[in-house]
């Protein structure tokens, strides 16, 4: 186990170092800078120059890189150029929305996908299967920003059950927070659920051919119970693999949905920070995403071991 953790840690560090260099270099060649963005076209050039000096933009690249890394190592992520407040606070605030949002979306995805996938597999090649798979086909073809507006139209504007967007923070209570994340999570989940349902279906079909399924039925376990207790867990390995990829996709792919529901999430922060050339925020966010992806991979690997006792954590 210790070896396993050591390996993961090494991966994490290597990933972060790689990410830091790439991100820094890519952002270096972006045209425009924060001072110019903050001051706008009508500003006096002297004022722009003064701001650039103040933000430290006039220093050579390697000095800035070094400052950034040194800051990271000491836990100081620096101050956002645009918001002039600590980047760490900004990111933490956004994570408090994005992580629950992604988790909720993932939960919807999983529940929907498993229900649809298993049901379709149970009715393999029958009408129910064909219908459900047709539905997933449509699900894959729906863009999430479009679906999001549709949800708002129905649930917020017509029925007025939910607010059309926004997020008041967790201070208002868990329930209120979850309520405002419900529609966004749903619109994020639909496409992913459609993809995952297809994968679940084929994984379940595959497992259903295994001998132990016949054994279970020979014990008198009903077909439905076999599906949910014996088959599903064995089919989870490919499903979890895809879920891992989807989660990292969701984490940062929320930009569009956050835009439609005007949620203060990480995706929108990155998008805004890039367009404002608030590079210090971008860099740190990307590092965070890279770290999160490694962590999600770790979780997936642990899940493998949880799902399948044959896989020991030590040989992942």
């Amino acid at each position: 186990m210790s070896l396993f953790i050591f390996k993961r840690l090494a991966t994490l560090i290597a990933t972060l170092i790689g990410a830091s260099v790439i991100v820094f270099l890519v952002l270096e060649i972006l045209p425009g800078n924060a001072a110019q963005m903050l001051m706008g076209p009508d500003a006096a050039p002297e004022a722009v120059a003064a701001l650039a000096t103040k933000l430290g933009l006039d220093q050579p690249a390697w000095t800035r890189y070094w400052h950034w890394i040194a800051g990271l190592l000491t836990g100081n992520l620096g101050d956002s150029y645009a918001y002039s407040s600590p980047v760490l606070d900004l990111i933490l605030e956004r994570l408090a929305l994005t992580v629950p949002l992604a988790l909720l979306a993932m939960a919807f995805t999983t529940v929907l996908a498993l229900l649809v996938g298993v049901t379709a597999a149970a009715r393999h090649n029958k009408l129910g299967d064909v219908g459900l798979m047709g539905l997933t086909q449509v699900g894959i073809a729906i863009p999430n920003f479009w679906f999001a507006i549709l949800l708002i139209l129905v649930f917020s504007v017509q029925l007025q059950w939910f607010s059309a967007g926004g997020f008041e923070g967790w201070g208002e209570g868990i329930f209120a927070g979850l309520k405002s994340l419900l529609l966004p999570a749903l619109s994020l989940a639909v496409v992913q659920a459609a993809i995952l349902a297809r994968i679940t279906r084929s994984a379940v079909l595959e497992v259903m051919r295994e001998d132990f399924v016949r054994t279970a039925r020979a014990k008198g376990v009903s077909q439905r119970a076999v599906l949910w207790t014996h088959v599903l867990r064995n089919a989870m390995i490919p499903v979890v693999t895809v879920m891992g990829m989807q989660f990292s996709e969701l984490l940062a792919g929320t930009i569009v949905v956050e835009n439609v529901f005007y949620l203060p999430g990480l995706g929108r922060l990155i998008f805004q920070a890039i367009s404002n050339r608030d590079l210090i925020v971008v860099r740190n966010c990307v590092m965070l995403l890279a770290a999160l992806v490694v962590i999600v991979n770790f979780v997936v690997d642990v899940l493998y071991a949880v799902i399948d006792p044959r896989i020991k954590a030590s040989d992942i």
Binding site: S2, L3, F6, S314, D315
Partner: protein
């Protein structure tokens, strides 16, 4: 090519050891080892066949992989016509492979389902890259004929054949380079008795016809008895007993060999089933 001295054995295996390292459990500890083979030596003279029997996990397949140079030994050597296979440079090893081929256990798994029989059978020739396409096809058709299949079968796919026919295809593939040695790892254990009989007969015929030697691996004593001049009994990575099959089975010395013999179910009647 230089003519091997007549005294030289076709295959000579000396002190073969193979340990597998399992994934490390601790960060700074030695990885746990599986001692699959612990010093195995034997030799096969040209034209003679050797059987290897033993229980599951005793290291039989490991021997086969090492002899085929599909895996490298921890120590020890495999000499084919006097040359140490594991020391040969890659191109020479490739060229040397014409002399030894392999037949696998699973007639369903050892043929690529997406290739035609012609391509499968010609694969060793293709790997040697000395012959033209047309020539390969020609030779493949000859090899198929030798194992009793038709030329019209060449453009079919493996799934269109029964288990016994597939094993024939696998044998045709092994024969196409006219090898001196065929390593067969449990070639009939996945087959039905009646099909098994066909394949065993075929192997026997080919031995008489082309003078190939077999290194036959099986856990079925009767199969080995049927085909081999000599038998090794492997137990926990070592050869515990060796000799001509008739003698060995009549007069087993090692306790494991005796257990093995005792466990064979006997049929109650005489006649053709049991030797007089």
């Amino acid at each position: 090519m230089n003519q091997p001295a007549s005294t030289q054995p076709l295959l000579e295996v000396t002190d073969l050891v193979r340990h597998y390292a399992l994934p490390r459990e601790k960060l700074f500890g030695p990885p746990p080892l599986v001692k699959a083979l612990n010093g195995v030596s034997f030799s096969v003279a040209a034209g003679r066949s050797l059987g290897i029997v033993g229980e599951s996990g005793s290291g039989k397949s490991t021997i086969a992989r090492l002899v085929m140079a599909l895996d490298t030994p921890t120590s020890g050597s495999v000499r084919m016509l006097g040359r140490d296979l594991h020391r040969l440079p890659r191109p020479e090893l490739r060229a040397a492979r014409r002399d030894f081929q392999m037949v696998f256990q699973d007639p369903y798994g050892s043929l690529d389902p997406r290739q035609t029989v012609a391509r499968i059978v010609a694969e060793p020739l293709e790997a040697l890259a000395e012959t033209s396409r047309a020539e390969q096809r020609e030779r493949a058709s000859e090899a198929l004929a030798a194992v009793g299949l038709r030329t019209t079968d060449m453009d079919k796919y493996p799934h269109e054949f029964s288990g016994g026919q597939r094993q024939r295809i696998a044998i045709a593939r092994a024969l196409i380079t006219r090898p001196k040695l065929i390593v067969a790892d449990e070639p009939v254990s996945a087959l039905d008795v009646s099909v098994q009989a066909q394949v065993l007969n075929l192997m026997q015929d080919l031995q008489q016809q082309f003078g190939v030697s077999y290194l036959l691996i099986s856990h079925d004593l009767a199969v080995v008895n049927h085909l081999c001049d000599e038998v090794c009994v492997v137990w926990q990575g070592k050869i515990v007993e060796q000799g001509p099959p008739g003698e060995l089975f009549r007069n087993a010395q090692h306790p494991y060999t005796r257990t093995l013999l005792e466990a064979v179910p006997r049929t109650p009647t005489g006649g053709t089933l049991l030797a007089a």
